[in-house]
């Protein structure tokens, strides 16, 4: 009787952590499997899958960077995602501040406009952007990717930052005005120093979205010298068969910076995602 009760409370105490642990394991399993396989020799990739490896090799990573020059797509992705993030955060911050705080007509309409654009299907503007970039001789260039990326990055930053600026106490800015600082000076000396958490969150999310973007990169780059990481990975071809080892190694490389960012900033990311209720 007492024994059964103890067993039951123990079971109850452990049920939740165990269930949570199982859930986490299930979610992470595909990533584990990919990482594991990227370290498995090619000839054993499809032979008798085992959860615990017997032998790990770095062959695929070596091949990835020596034979395939995977540095190039990594560099391209960093440049494009970085430039997109900087541009949209700089322009987006001042725009968001105006939309969040200054009094002028048409603000609500503009905000709705920004949100509507963030929901544009990318495929709907591929054709004119292609023609436009071709006209401007920007196909297969960095600006030729950054410009299209602004279509989603700019609305994203504005939307997130408007939400953030609205949460700052307005009295701080009013105190700045009373102290004799103009709107811009208040923005610079009071609002911005207090906003770096929001701006950092926004930059992180913008970078993630840009790093992961695929359709535009696939449409507006022509050769391996400008391919971004996602495009490069999907276009891996072997001589006889799909080079799975290298693909998975590349997948791990593409995931690594993302994972680092998530590890470092998970709380901020969740806050940003749910406060702005951003698109997935």
């Amino acid at each position: 009787m007492t024994l059964g009760a103890t067993a039951r409370t123990t079971a109850r105490r452990w049920a939740r952590p165990v269930a949570t642990g199982l859930l986490v394991a299930a979610i992470l399993f595909p990533l584990y499997w990919a990482a594991l396989s990227s370290l498995t020799p090619e000839n054993r990739l499809f032979a008798a899958p085992a959860l615990v490896p017997r032998e790990l090799v770095l062959d695929h990573y070596r091949a990835l960077f020596r034979e395939r020059d995977f540095w190039t797509p990594v560099r391209n992705s960093l440049v494009v995602a970085g430039a997109t993030t900087v541009l949209s955060v700089v322009l987006g911050t001042v725009c968001a501040y105006a939309l969040a705080r200054l009094r002028f007509r048409g603000k609500a309409v503009m905000l709705a406009f920004v949100l509507a654009v963030s929901m544009f299907p990318q495929i709907s503007i591929v054709s004119p952007l292609y023609l436009l970039l071709r006209e401007l001789r920007l196909l297969n260039t960095y600006p030729g990717l950054v410009l299209p990326y602004l279509t989603f990055a700019m609305p994203l930053t504005i939307w997130l930052l408007v939400g953030f600026f609205r949460q700052l106490p307005a009295e701080l800015e009013e105190a700045g005005l009373m102290d004799g600082a103009g709107r811009l000076q208040t923005l610079w000396a009071i609002v911005l120093p207090l906003s770096w958490p929001g701006i950092a969150t926004t930059a992180i999310l913008t970078f993630l979205y840009s790093w992961n973007e695929f359709l535009f990169a696939l449409s507006f780059t022509l050769g391996p010298e400008r391919h971004t990481v996602p495009v490069a990975i999907t276009l891996f071809r072997g001589q006889y068969q799909v080079p799975w080892g290298q693909i998975l190694a590349a997948a791990v490389v593409a995931t690594a910076p993302v994972a680092a960012i998530v590890l470092a900033a998970q709380r901020r990311i969740v806050a940003g995602l749910t406060s702005g209720a951003v698109k997935g």
Binding site: P169, L172, E174, A175, G176, L177, M178, D179, G180
Partner: protein, 360 residues
Amino acid sequence: MASITLDQVSKTYPNGQTAARDLTIEIGDGELLVLVGPSGSGKSTVLRLVAGLELPTAGRILIDGRDVTAVPPQRRDLAMVFQSYALYPHKSVRENLAFGLRVRRVDAAEIDARVRLAAATLGIEALLDRKPAQLSGGQRQRVALGRAIVREPKAFLLDEPLSNLDPLLRVATRTELGLLHRRLAATMVYVTHDQEEAMTLGTRVAVMRNGAIEQIGPALALFRRPANTFVAGFVGSPAMNLWPGACRRLDGRARVASAVCSIDLDEAGQSVPDGAELVAGVRPHDIDLTSDGDVTGRVEIVEPLGPVTLVHLRVAGLPGEFVRVIVPSDARIGVDDQARFRIRRDRLHLFDGRTGRRLN
């Protein structure tokens, strides 16, 4: 320092809420005007209108006779102390004080001197290198004040600056503020919802309700001759007793007839038209417990306040309310006693029953 004038100023917020109704106020150079009223009565709105943080929907605002309605807040040269203090959290106390001077490009040596002086005036020299988060409530309040006085602005606008302090500190700081006002000879507009604070501080007090000014004048004048039932009930503590009644003629003499009392107006030297609906008001201090009083009631609550005692009486004919009476603290009175009391005739306030306006 400067004078401030509101000329028929109204403010309706975009959501349709009218928070200021046709206000005309003159605030003299060096005067301390207190705006008092219940929360939501529009006090902050008036302050923000003067500051320029809100734009009036009608009317003009003048500083030293110059129309500043179209001047943005940063160019009005006024200082404001916010209820939340609104200290810049990322700046040290020193930088908080210096910011307004930096913005005006005052040179560094003078900024330093003025910050020191302001800090000395308020006794916050030791805190200059701390951040606001490291300060207590009272210290923050001082820094907020310091940020205002260091600038030597044309006028100070204070929005409930003491309401976040604990009661003891509040009273002490109130006294200090009064001193500071005298020393700086500064024009101040001071907002509070606490009528006691208003009475003790203000050279002049304006009582607001519902966006309108109910009465404006020296504190004692408001106390002695409230212009209407609202002011009568709001100013003074414990609050004035207000009894609805009518003016009746009995035996050829005019009398106030209410549930509580019947007072001969001719004898009291008051004249009111016959049959008029009215409200009779008597402060608890102006009622005496005597053996030959004109009304009887049963004691329900006895609240010793220290120097005096507040007694709540239940009187037949006034079911929903108590009659409040102040008695000497040594008066021998207990719950359930029957008490007789007498109203001082010369302290009777009479108000119109419909408009609430003062009649006598």
